[in-house]
Each structure stands twice: as C-alpha cells, then as structure tokens.
Amino acid sequence: MAEENTTDPTQGNSKLVGLLAQFDDPDSLVHACDQARQAGYTKTDAYSPFPVHGIDPALGIKRTVLPFIVLGIALGAVFIGLGMQWYTNGGSIGGVSTDESPLFPGYRFKISGKPYFSLPANIPVTFEVIVLSSAFASFFGMWFLNKLPMLANPLHRISRFKRATNDKFFLMIKNADAKFDRGSTEAQLNEWGAVAVEECRQDLTDIRLPGWLRLVALIGAILLMLPPVAIFRAMGMTNRAPRLHFMPDMDWQDKSKTQTVSPRLVNDEFLFADERAMRAPVDGSVARGQLDADPEMYRGIKRDYTPAVSVTTATGSVRTSLGPNQNQQDVPAAAPPAEDVSMFITTFPDEIEVTEELLARGQQRFNIYCTACHGFSGNGNGLVNQRALALAATGKATWTTAKSLHDPMVKDPEKNPIGRIFDTITNGRATMGPYGDQIPTADRWAIVAYVKALQETGIEPPVVVAEEGGAVAEGTTTEPSKTGDGTKPRP
C-alpha cells in the first residue's frame, strides 16, 4: 500500500482505490463482469448510463435485504400505530386507564358514541403509520445499505468517468479485494476487452476544516441561538400589545353560546321570537336512554296498576305532586290524602338485585344524602334536625321533626311498601324535598335497600326528645352533637 501511494509523484499524496476499466457497449461490460466474478473478484462495481439486463448475476450481486427491513418495520408500525392511539385515547388494561396517568395522560373523548378504543376507527391512522414508516424504512434503509451519504467520491476526479451517465460503461475492481494486484488485474481487464484502464486514487491531502471557518461556524451557531432565546424571553414577559389572531374565524365564531340572548338580525329584530339563543327540544322528545318507560323501575309503581278515576290526579302526578304538597307541612307524611298505597310495588323491580355491593352503595349514598336529617341510624335525629329544633325552640324558625325510619308507621310494609319508599325519595313527601334529580335511579333503589336493611336491624330509636328543641346524642360516635348556639345535649 505504501508503495502504491508513491508510485506516481504527479499524484501527490494519494491512495489507490482501485482500477477503473472502460467499455464501449453493455454486452462487453456484462462479459467483463462475468469474467471478473469467475476470476474470484468480489469487491467490484459496474457503472452504466441505463439499467443493464443481467448485470446483477454477472457481478454475483445478491438480492438486497431491504424488503425484509421494510417488512419488519412495517409490522412494528402496526403496534406503534395501534399503541399510540390506544394510549392517547385513554385506553385501559385491567381497569387502569392511561387518562389517569400523572405524566402524559391520555384523553378520553367520546366520539359518535363509540368505545374509547375501537378498532375500525383506528385502522386508517394505523394504515398511514405503516405507509409512512415503510417509506422511511425503504428510503433510509437504502441509504444505510449503500453507505450514503457519500460526500466525495474519488471516481468523480476521473474525467472519462463523466461519460458513465452518457454513453460509456465502466467496471471498477477495488484495491480492497483480496485478489487485487495492480499489475495482473490491469492485464486481466485488458484481456477482458477493456477500452481503457485507469487508476482511481483517493486524495489524502489534509481535509480538516481551515481554522477561520471554525470561527465562522462558531459565530453562526451563536447567532442561530438568538431567535429561540428571544422567544423564551418573550414568553416570560408581559406585553401591552393586543395578541395576534392568526385565525380570527376560530377566535370569534359565528355562533351563540348556551344561556345567551338570541342573535339579532340586520333590522335589529331577534332571530328567535322568544329572544333566547337556545332552542327548546321538540315537544314530547325524549333524550336517548331517558325514556324511563318502566313504571316499576323508575317510579316504583306496579306495571298493571290502572288508577281508579277518583285517584287519577294523585297517581298521574306522581312525579310532580311535590309542587302543591311541598309546603303543606302539617300533612302527615305517611298518609297523604287520597293516596292509593296498593299502586306501589312491594318487591324490588326485576332490574335491581339486592346484593352486598348494592347495600354498600346504598349505605354510602344514604350517608351522603339522608343522614343530614334522618341521622346515621335513621332515627330522624340528624344534624339539620338538631339545629332546626334548637332554632325552633327559640322561636326563630318553625320545623317539623324529621321522620324516624324506625317509626312503626314507616316500617309497616303494608302502609309503606318498597315502591312508596322509592317514591318518597324521588318526589319527597310532606316536608321532605325530592331527590329524584340528584340521585340516579339505581342509587335510589340502593338507598331503599339500605333503608330496609337499617329497619331490619331493629335499632330502637333512643328516647324521643325533640319536643322542646333539644338534641340527643346518640350512641354512635359518628354523630357528635356539636351545637355551637348554646343548646346542649340532654343527659
């Protein structure tokens, strides 16, 4: 090698890369390639202005592995594409969803009522990810396999090689080949019909960057830092100038928001006569899933119940009866006038199965919604009741005692069947307000179940007390009587 580097003083400091043989037609090139392969050369390359049929086998070039690289990456893209959508859509495994992740949480968007992760919707994106990554894999895989980019190629220093894109054909045998020998290889190439054989040399002159260029590069790099620095600085500052609106039609959309006044026409009249922007649903329309057609499940009333004429109003107004009745505080809760108790179901509706979970749920809901008045044990002595009685004792308020759920009247399954308890929670009764809008149907049934269980425990209400407005501490520690207004629990 050292000897070859100095064979020709006119070549300066250079290294022999290989021998380039020129041919005038594709057939002699293919013939020479064939000979070179048979002579045992492996590090060879051929150059031609157009694809020459049969040159790959003549040179002994194996088929590329690129398709397998692309296939592997495309199959990987299937998992990446699906996984990305699964993650960003808040997919879940075993009840743990990515939308609860503290870092980079996914977003659960309900779109068209479809599941958060539903395969048909994800296939187009997965398909695009496959196409994109396959394109990248084939393009950059080709670069990698061909050791690209090659910024300088010694072949381009040979003037006759320029015609490789025009009308001449070349075969290169590289110095790196084990069988390469400067003299004998040249003789072989001539023997195989080369029109000309020429050395291809790599210039070994110092190719490092000149010092001044490094300085320029350094200054340039510093200057390039300025725009991001300016942006970061602006982000940390206040500014009095109005913000830029790149898309005004998105910032100021031609629409009305909820609970606003109707838009006005050119002549200043309201677009909608009732002056409201929101439109009421069409009369009689029912929201999806809100039909609540089953009277047993949603109202606690038997399916086959047909009201007698005289009580039509009472039953027909099951949902709305609280309006007029709400303030009639003196009406006994268990016996509203003209009420037909037989209309209520006496067992739980088919959809409700009384289980331990249901009771636990009922207890939890009961503790949230009911205990304020009825107390944790259901004896009717919750905090609100205590406070109200204390105030009533001083003449500042009027108050009707909250019912004890252990009252024989309330417990009596004949007078107060299960459906009626549900109805009481839903629509209220006497002074009790309605909870139908606050507690979902299933939870109301859970509370009914819990109330029945509470009654079954047979906890006797402590001595009733409330006549004079005092409050009694119960045996339970969960209901301490903290009354800061001077009333004290009785001994």
């Binding site: 057939d27 293919v30 013939h31 064939d34 694809p51 020459v52 049929h53 049969g54 003549a58 088929r63 398709p67 296939l71 068209s112 009522g113 479809k114 048909p120 919707a121 296939i123 187009p124």
Partner: protein, 434 residues
C-alpha cells in the same frame, strides 16, 4: 448471459390446436348438469335457485369485465410487457357479450313482474311487514296497479328502478361491453395478418373513451345487478368495490389460463415467469385495493351509524353464520393472499401463484355470495351456507363456470393465443423484472 430475443413467435403450438373441439361438448354437458343439479337440489324453488345462479353469474361476469379492463388499460398505457398475455384477456373479455344469454333467466323474472330476485319490481317493497297494519299496507301497495298508491320513496325510486328501464340498461351494458371487447379483438386479430402498426395506434386512441365508458357501465351495472337487491340501501363506494374484485379475479383468470395453456404445451415460449411475476404484483396491489375499498365502505357507514345505511351491514353481522362469512372474507380475501403474494420469490413460483390465484378466485366468489345471498330473505336473515344449501351453490357455480369456459373455447377456436405481429411483441418477449 443476456441475449435479446428476436420479436418472433417460436412456440410450436400457439392455438387451442383442436382442444376446443373436445372441450366444448364436455363443458356444455357439465354446465347443463351443474345447473340442472342446482335446480333439482333447490327443489325447483325458483328463488333459492335463482339467487345461487345470480351469484355465479355475477362471479363470471366480473371476471370477464376484469379482463376487459385489463385490455383497455394496457392499450391506454401503451404497455409493452403484457402483449403476449393480452390475447387471452381479449378472449375472456369477449365472453362478456354472450353472457347476456345467461342473464336471461334473471331478466325474465323482472319482465314478468315478479319480485323473486329484485324486490323493487313489486309495489310495497320498501315496507317491512312487522305487524298487521304494515302487512296490509304492503299488500295494498302490491295489489294496486297505480304507482301513486305506493309510498313516496318508492315513487321516487320508480323512475330508475322499473322493469323497462332496468331491461334497457342491462341490454345497453352488454351491447357496450360486447362492442368494446369486439373492437379490441377484431383489430388485434386483423393485425395478426397484416402487421399494420396503425391498428395499435387506433386501439390506443379508442382506449381512452372506452375507459370512460367502462367506468360508467361498471358503476351502473353494479348498482343494478347487486346493489338494487337491497333497493333501500345506497353506497357510492359499492361500484369501486365491485370493480376491485372484478379486476383482481380477471388477473387471476388470465394467469391461470396462461398456466393451463403452457402446461398443455401451448405458447410455451411467449409467456415467461416475468409476465407471471408482474401479474402477481398487480394481484397483490389489487388485493390491497379491494381491502382498502371494502374497509372504507364499512368504516364510513359504521362511523356515521345511520340506520338507512347500517342495516345492510347489520344483515351480514348480527347473524352468527353471516358474521363468520364476513370474517372469512376479511381474512381470506385480504390477509392470506396479501402474505401469499408478498416477496419476489413467492411471486416467481408457479405452484404458489396457481395456489394463490385459485384461492383468490374462491374468495372472490365468497365475496359475491356475501353481497347477494343475505338479500334472499332479509326479513328472516337466515344463513343458508352449509348442508344441501352449499351443494346448490357449488353445483350452480360449476355449471356456470363450465359454460364460461365453453364460451372461451368458442371464441378462441383456432385463433392464435398470442398476438403474432404486434409492434411491441419484442418488448414483451424480452420483458424482465428487476
């Protein structure tokens, strides 16, 4: 070592060489026997038989149309590589015209005013009789002779879906397909004798308007033949779906015909593995295209979730048997052939290509079955594949395919199976895939 082949036909046998004289009688007998067996097995139930028959008919018609598209697109793109396999496609394309005779039984049911196959032929078709009131309304609309007694939707659709306009359209389609196929075959055969290069230019010039004509006819024929079976349903994607399957099966049949001819010692030199390789690549491309279109049609309907559109898929999904068939179609028409044809080595293996082509054709038949059969009794939505039902379909399929082959032999006769003097013959003979 690379050598350029001269543009000369070198195979000793380039015609059917009398093979058609033996094949035609056999094919006709098998055809009659198959269709007769189907008729017998269906217990002379005209509805069951005609639906099986329509499935097989649409199967062979789509193959023929796929070949017509092949010939047209090859002229349109001035393709040189495909010259030696073009003649096979020309013969199959020419079969589309006589296939009109096979459509006559179906057309007859329409002309006598029956709704055996096309329910839109009788008033009240849009009413689903689920209670006494609707049953009475349907009967009233069916009994009335006045169009104005029908529901408004039916009155609107009557302008297009009535028996006379339907018949006129069907006749027009077959005339146009026959005309195009005949034009290409006639000029190609003329060139065999004269070697006149201007004929190639002439065919190329006509291929562009023919392509438009082909697009229009395949769109409306797929509406008429298959989509109008469920006249309430509409999908503008459906013709593309029909076309994707048609061209795919056309490629398979061209390939299988080539294999068969070469195995029996005909055109041994002109069709090379390079041509099969390219056909295989086209096949894989159109497998993906079919999957793309089938999925696009499904996904848009699935996402919008409008009952007017979803009921068609509902018929094919909410019944266990049809659902199985839908999954078979997804896996068998898309995934399996996709991997069967992936890779150069697989596409240059004659045995594997034969296997793939036959498999795709079977799946293509399942595709038509899946489109047509659920419409036979959409009210009960009963799954009919399996048992004796399968025998009816299989016998009918064998019969119709045999008649299709007989048509091919009748048209090819003693004519050459390769173009003899096409100006691009040399290019095709020296075709090489990189």
């Amino acid at each position: 070592m690379h050598e350029t082949r001269p543009a000369k036909i070198t195979s000793p046998i380039t015609t059917l060489n009398g093979g058609h004289i033996r094949t035609i009688p056999v094919a006709l007998i098998v055809g009659a026997a198959g269709i007769g067996a189907a008729l017998l097995l269906s217990g002379f139930s005209s509805k069951r038989f005609l639906f099986a028959y329509l499935t097989s008919f649409c199967f062979v018609l789509s193959i023929s149309l796929g070949c017509l598209f092949f010939v047209t697109i090859m002229h349109l793109t001035r393709a040189g590589w495909s010259v030696t396999i073009r003649r096979i496609a020309e013969y199959w394309a020419m079969c589309s015209f006589p296939l009109f005779i096979l459509f006559l039984p179906v057309l007859a049911t329409v002309l006598v005013g029956s709704d055996t196959i096309y329910s839109w032929n009788v008033g009240g078709w849009s009413i689903h009789p689920h209670d006494a009131e609707t049953t009475a309304a349907k009967a009233a609309a069916a009994a009335s002779t006045s169009i104005s007694d029908r529901p408004p939707l039916e009155q609107l659709k009557y302008a297009f879906l009535n028996k006379w306009f339907f018949t006129a359209r069907i006749v027009a389609y077959f005339l146009m397909w026959g005309g195009m196929a005949w034009f290409f075959l006639k000029n190609s055969l003329k060139q065999d004798e004269s070697g006149d290069k201007s004929l190639t230019a002439r065919m190329q010039a006509f291929s562009a308007p023919f392509m438009i004509l082909f697009a229009v006819t395949i769109v409306f024929s797929s509406f008429d033949l298959e989509m109008s079976l469920s006249a309430l349903w509409f999908s503008t994607m459906f013709p593309v779906y029909f076309f994707a399957g048609a061209f795919l099966s056309g490629l398979c049949v061209i390939m299988l015909t080539g294999f068969w001819l070469q195995r029996t010692g005909r055109v041994t030199d002109e069709i090379t593995i390079e041509h099969y390789h390219d056909l295989g690549k086209l096949m894989q491309g159109f497998i993906i295209f079919w999957g793309y279109i089938a999925f696009s049609q499904f996904m848009l309907i699935w996402y919008a979730n409008i009952p007017e559109e979803t009921f068609w898929y509902n018929l094919r999904i909410n019944q266990p048997g049809w659902m199985t068939l839908s999954l078979i179609l997804l896996v068998g028409h898309l995934f399996i052939p996709f991997f069967l044809l992936m890779g150069r080595g697989l596409r240059r293996n004659r045995q594997l290509l034969t296997l793939s082509a036959v498999f795709i054709l079977v799946m293509h038949w399942v595709d038509h079955y899946w489109v047509i059969m659920p419409q036979m009794s959409p009210e009960t939505n009963k799954y009919t594949l399996g048992g004796s039902g399968f025998l009816i379909d299989a016998a009918c399929l064998v019969g119709v395919i045999a008649l299709f082959i007989a048509l091919f032999c009748l048209i090819a006769r003693n004519r050459s199976l390769v173009p003899l003097k096409d100006p691009r013959l040399g290019e095709a003979l020296n075709h090489e895939v990189h």
